[in-house]
């Protein structure tokens, strides 16, 4: 196939709003100069002009194509620059890349979602998508954990979800403070509270590697088949094109073959939790 598009050239996008979600996490609202469509779970390469580029999964609805939101934790060189950007600045976007969540496969099933920290970002996009198709789903349960109540993100959205039929939200924090009245402990303890028909259910896990590891282990112990546990993998996806090699996880390019994999697809690959 002949395609003259320059795969390395970013599309400019104007930063129109910056929402503070927690002391370390902000959501950036971007309006690309061209319509930009993605499937939930796919990622983009987002660049700060002249500084760097990194992969992020949009946290906004895939149904919206004139703007997108990216939720970013301040954790390194490029994200620190990002956190200092003000509305009006321009960023660069390449993508969307990779294989997202196969939402059609979730139809007629219960969806159990396990999320931790900034891993809520891709999950929120998935939730927007699931709400749009909720008539085709049995039930959606979100188990979300963060370090402290202060670190819980998307608080207004949690309230919306709790009022949405078929949607349930369970939350935990590692360390409680203030008037926190939900669970305390690592996020996997929430799975003890979940009533789920595993045979008619799929599970989605997204969060820090350590949480993904123990979350997956617990889901398998609960009886989820390996092919029904969907993981959004984090690697150093640099080009997003299946070329640069930085995100290789055994035979897979996470950027192109993933980032969403079922556990049985990747269980024999090296360093999946590193």
């Amino acid at each position: 196939m002949r395609n003259d598009k320059n795969i390395y050239k970013p599309l400019r996008a104007k930063l129109t709003d910056v929402i503070e979600e927690s002391p370390l996490i902000k959501t950036f609202v971007l309006v690309p100069e061209e319509e930009f469509a993605f499937r939930t779970g796919q990622f983009i390469e987002l660049s700060v002009d002249g500084i760097g580029e990194a992969p992020f999964t949009p946290s906004s609805s895939p149904q919206v194509t004139d703007k997108l939101e990216v939720t970013v934790m301040k954790t390194g060189y490029m994200t620190e620059y990002m956190h200092n950007l003000k509305p009006g600045a321009y960023m660069g976007i390449r993508g969307p890349y990779g294989r997202g969540y196969p939402v059609e496969k979730f139809y007629d099933k219960e969806v159990l979602i396990l999320g931790g920290g900034c891993g809520f970002a891709p999950i929120r996009s998935l939730l927007y998508n699931l709400i749009a198709v909720s008539d085709k789903l049995r039930k959606v349960t979100l188990c979300y954990g963060s370090k402290t109540p202060e670190d819980c993100i998307y608080k207004p959205y949690i309230s919306v979800l709790r009022k949405t039929p078929k949607f349930e939200v369970l939350r935990s924090v590692d360390k409680a403070s203030g008037n926190w009245n939900e669970r305390v402990g690592v996020v996997t303890i929430l799975l003890d509270d979940v009533k789920v028909d595993i045979k008619n259910s799929i599970a989605v896990v997204c969060g820090p590697p350590i949480m993904m590891k123990f979350g997956t282990r617990k889901l398998l112990e609960m009886g989820y088949p390996e092919h029904d546990v969907y993981l959004s993998m984090e690697k150093n996806m640099s080009c997003g094109l299946g070329k640069c090699g930085h995100c290789m996880m055994g035979k897979y390019f996470v950027c192109k073959d993933g980032p969403v994999f079922t556990y049985d697809e990747i269980k024999d690959q090296p360093n999946i939790w590193d």
């Binding site: 196939m1 002949r2 395609n3 003259d4 598009k5 320059n6 795969i7 390395y8 050239k9 970013p10 400019r12 660049s47 700060v48 002009d49 002249g50 500084i51 760097g52 580029e53 990194a54 954790t75 390194g76 060189y77 490029m78 994200t79 660069g92 820090p208 590697p209 984090e234 690697k235 150093n236 640099s238 080009c239 094109l241 299946g242 070329k243 640069c244 090699g245 930085h246 995100c247 290789m248 055994g250 035979k251 897979y252 192109k256 090296p270 360093n271 590193d274």
Partner: protein, 329 residues
């Protein structure tokens, strides 16, 4: 196979003309060694046709060490590359699979490939670390270059491989059909001699598939032992015809510079949160072998090691991968 020939003196004159219309590169042997160099009137006599092998591989033409990939694409003269050994030609197959894939076609790589006439050269003789045949690659081209060249008995003889090669020879009236059975038999004899030399030199070396099994099963102690002299310089990956990893560097104006990278460098897989699956030297060292002999073969149709032996020659720690494979075979 169709052959054409031209007298050596006439071919040298053809080259003098070609360099005004094309950028012509050839395997040149001089006091600095043997490598691909741009041909000009004063070094035509230094072109070597059937001597293995240039220090660098064909990769350097198609994947420059550094290039701005957001700027306009290359314009200018088409390229003719003369004297590429078949290991280098085969090495391009994997590059083609990665850079010309149907989803994301690299326009810079594609333009260079389309604008280049590849004239391979049969290897008559071997170098110390050549082991192409062990991985199923013949020391002469029959399928993937445009032409293959043999210099013999005062003649330059071309084996016609592609239509592009055939059309190129049509532009050279002095190149005439060649079917001298004795000479063609001599060529075949020389090819067989090279194959014999390779077979003899690489006795005990496992083939590509068996190497994959050895690498996959090798224990941590093996990787620690063989990586103990590795200094993470990345020379093995840089010189390798099939190592293609790169880094994108951001420049003001949303420009991007693509620079060759190597999994042997610390931090290659490090993510922003600090996790780094290849933090330890022996893990990085193993990664390259797993990539070449286990993972890439699972994913792609082309070999990820052509047996050129350049990684052994380039290693400043004198690490010889074939010693590792022989030990574990």
């Amino acid at each position: 196979m169709q052959y054409k020939s031209i007298k050596k003196e006439e071919w040298d004159k053809v080259l003098e003309n070609l360099i005004s219309s094309h950028a012509v590169y050839a395997s040149i042997c001089n006091e600095f060694g043997q490598d691909y160099e741009m041909v000009h009137p004063t070094n035509i006599s230094q072109i070597v046709y059937n001597k293995p092998k240039p220090v660098t591989s064909l990769k350097s033409f198609f994947l420059p060490v550094k290039e701005n990939v957001t700027s306009d694409r290359r314009t200018g003269k088409s390229w003719i590359i003369i004297g590429a050994p078949n290991c280098d030609i085969e090495g391009l197959s994997l590059l083609d699979e990665i850079y010309l894939d149907k989803d994301f076609n690299d326009p810079f790589y594609r333009k260079r490939r389309e604008d280049t006439l590849l004239i391979s050269a049969d290897c008559f003789g071997t170098q110390e670390h050549c082991h192409c045949l062990s991985y199923g690659i013949k020391p002469y081209s029959a399928g993937k270059a445009d032409l293959a060249v043999i210099s013999l008995n005062g003649l330059i003889i071309f084996r016609v491989i592609s239509v592009k090669g055939e059309n190129f020879l049509k532009t050279i009236p002095e190149a005439i059909s060649f079917d001298d059975k004795n000479t063609l038999s001599d060529i075949e004899k020389k090819q067989k001699e090279t194959e014999s030399l390779l077979t003899e030199a690489n006795k005990g070396l496992p083939d590509y598939k068996a190497t994959g099994k050895i690498v996959a099963e090798a224990k941590k102690e093996t990787w620690e032992k063989y990586s103990s002299h590795c200094v993470s310089c990345g020379a093995c990956a840089t010189i390798c015809p099939t190592c293609t990893c790169f880094l994108l560097i951001d420049k003001p104006g949303f420009e991007k510079v693509k620079q060759l990278d190597a999994c042997q460098y610390p931090g290659f897989e490090r993510v922003a949160g600090g996790e780094d699956a290849l933090f330890r030297l022996h893990n990085r060292f193993r990664n390259r072998y797993m990539c070449k002999y286990v993972w890439k073969p699972e994913k792609f149709n082309s070999v990820a090691c052509t047996g050129c032996g350049r990684c052994i020659e380039a290693c400043i720690g004198k690490i010889n991968k074939n010693e590792l494979f022989r030990e574990l075979a």
